[in-house]
Subunit: 397 residues, 2 copies
Amino acid sequence: MPLDFQLLATDSSSAARRATLGTAHGRVETPAFMAVGTRASVTGLAPRELEETGCQVVLGNTYHLMLRPGVELFQRTGGLHNFMGWQKPILTDSGGYQIFSLAHDCVVSERGAFFKAYTSQQMEMLTPERSIEVQAALGSDMMMVLDVCAPSKADEPVIVAAMERTHRWALRSLEARRRLAETSGHDQSLFAIAQGALDLGLRRRSAEFLTAHAFDGFAIGGVAVGDSRAERDEVVRFTTEQLPVDKPRYLMGVGTPPDLLEAIWAGVDLFDCVIPTRLAQQGSAFTETGRVRLTRTRYFRSDEALDTSCSCSTCCCYSRSYLHHLFKANEPLGPRLLSHHNLHYYNTLLAQARVAIERGVYSSFAKNKLDQIDRHEDGELKPRSQALSTESSDAGL
Amino acid sequence: MPLDFQLLATDSSSAARRATLGTAHGRVETPAFMAVGTRASVTGLAPRELEETGCQVVLGNTYHLMLRPGVELFQRTGGLHNFMGWQKPILTDSGGYQIFSLAHDCVVSERGAFFKAYTSQQMEMLTPERSIEVQAALGSDMMMVLDVCAPSKADEPVIVAAMERTHRWALRSLEARRRLAETSGHDQSLFAIAQGALDLGLRRRSAEFLTAHAFDGFAIGGVAVGDSRAERDEVVRFTTEQLPVDKPRYLMGVGTPPDLLEAIWAGVDLFDCVIPTRLAQQGSAFTETGRVRLTRTRYFRSDEALDTSCSCSTCCCYSRSYLHHLFKANEPLGPRLLSHHNLHYYNTLLAQARVAIERGVYSSFAKNKLDQIDRHEDGELKPRSQALSTESSDAGL
C-alpha cells in the first residue's frame, strides 16, 4: 500500500512535528528511530526483543542483501519480513552509500555502479532500476532511490555533478517503481534523497527538483559523515524547510541523541544510525545521566542498574558490575544486553519527544534533554564544550 | 540447605533412575543436563531464554570466576545467582580441571596448586580449602571438591598418585565445608569426584574410599577427554555400580547425546558439557534427524525449520536458510539462536528419558534414539560406524 502520512500535531515553539506513517505492516509513530539491520539482523537481538525496545521500523540494506543471501532467495521466499521474522515496517536503503564507501574496484557511470562483490569476488552492477528491483524483492515498506554520495569537502563541480546524477537516478527509480507496480502489483513507497553537501544553494536546488515529482517521502543524504555538528545542523534545518509539509522527512545515518533532538526541532520525522548498536559493541551505553563506558574499572564494583530511570530488561535484571564483567570476559551477552538498552534509550527518547510535540512544549523538552546529556559523562559533571565531541555521527554500513 | 535427593523410579530394563534433587533454589528433575556458564554467562543467552530451553541448572566455574570478577565481589554482593540473574540451582566446578589443563606456570604440591592468573599475570593459589571458600562466596547449591586430573594414558604410578591426592583433598574439602558451615552458616552440598583413569581396579578403590565419607553426591571425573567411547562407557558403567543408590551421580564434562543416553542407562543423574553451545558457535545443530551443519551450502535455500519436531523459539520463528545466512554474514544472532536450540534439544532429550524411566521402558527408548541419531547426518542416511565419530566428548572449560 502507498504510504499513509498523517500529520497529527506541529509544535508551537519549533518546526517539530508529530505524525503517523501507515504501511502494509502497521503504523509508525513519528518522529521515529529505525534500528539498523543491515544484513537482516540487528546485532544479536531477536525480533521480539526489538519490539521490547520500542523499535517500530527495521532498516535493511540493498547492497549487502543483494550480495548475501542474494535477490533470488527473497524473490522465492517472499521478502525480508518473513526471512528475518520481523512483521513490522521495514525500510530498505538503496545501496548508494555503500557503493561509494565500501565497494571495491567500483566504476560509476551514468548507467549505474559496477563493482566487485566482497562475497564472490565477481563483478556486480547496481543501477537505479536494479536497486528498485532488489528492494521490491525484499518487500520493504519504504524504498530509497539509488543516490550518488560525494564527499562533503569535494570541489563544487564534483558535488554538483553528484547531485544532478542523483536527480536523474531518482527519476529513473520512480519510473522503475511505476513499471514494477504495473507488472507485478508491487506498491512500495519510494523516498527521494536530497544531496548538495554543505552548500545551501545546492541543497535548495536539490529539494526543489525532487519535490516536483511524486515521491512518497524525502530524505536528506550526505550529512552523516565528517562534518561538524554546527554544519550538519545548518544543512538539516535549511533543507527541511525546503521539503513539503505533507510528506515524511528522513535524515539518513544520523546520529547521536543531541543530533536527533536538533533534527526533530527542525521538523525531521525519521532517523537511522548505527551509533546505539555500534557503541554497545564497544561497551558504551546511553543513560539519563550521560554516557557510561562499562569497560571502565570504576564499574567493577557498581551494584546499581545501568540506568535507574530505565525500564528495559537490561536495566531491570543486571548490575553495572555484571555488564562490566561480561565485557571484560568477552561474553557475547554483553554487547547484546547493551544493544537492547541503547535502542530502548533511543526509542524512549523519541517517544518522549512525540509527547512533548503533542503538548506543544518540544523546545523546552529538547533544551532540558540537551543540558542533561551535556552535563554528565560517566557520572561526572563536565564542561559543555566537551559534550559528546567524540561521537561524530556515523552512517549506517 | 543440604541436598534433598529423592529416588522416584528405577527403570526395569536398565540401571537408569528417575529422581529429584531439592536445593535452596528449587528442585531439579533428574536425569538432568546442566548448561555450562563458565564465566557467569551461557553463550549469549539471558536467563529467561535458558529457562525456555528447559534448563534446570547452570554450572559456574571456580577457576575462572575467582580470577574474574574475583571472590571479593561475590562476598560483597551475595553470590552468583544475583550477579547473573539466574534464580534456579547452580553447581560450581572446583577449578581442578582448569588448573591441570589451562593454567600457566602451574606448580602442584600436596597443599594445592600455585599458578599464574591469565587475568593479572600474578601468582594465585588454589587449595581444596580455598576452592570451598570461593564456592561458598559464589553461593552455589552444589559444590565440587578440588581434584587432581591425571591424563588417562599416564603411567599407573602417576594415576594412582593423582587419585590418592584427590582423596586427601576431598577430605580436606569436607572439613573446610564443615568449618564454614559452623562459622558462617553456609550449608551448600558437596560432591566428591572419583578418579582412576581407565583402570577399573583404581575406579573401585576411589569409589570405595569416597563413599565412606559424608559427601552429598559423587561425580565421575577424568573420563571426558581423549578416551574412546567404548572405554568411557565401560568406566562409567563400572564406576556407577560402585556408587550408593541414595546419592546423586554426576558424570563430569560428558558429552554427546549418545554419551548421555549410555550414561543414563548406567544410572547417572547429572551431566554438563560444552558440546551443545560450542557446536552452536560453529553452526552445528542437533535435530531429531541428526546433526545439521548450517554453514553448508545445501541450506542456503532451505525454507524449512531447523527441526520440524522441535518447539523451541529458534525452530518456531526461523528457516534453515536464515540461520545459514546469519552464519555466513557472521551475525551474532546465529550462534545465539543455535545455542538456544541445542540446549533445548539436550533438555528435551533428558525430559523424554525421564518419562521413559518412569514408564520402565528406558532401554527401548535409548536404543530407538541411538538408532535415530546414528541413521542421519545432514539429512542423509549414513553407516552406523561413522556415527558421531568426530564428536569426542569434550570437557567444560
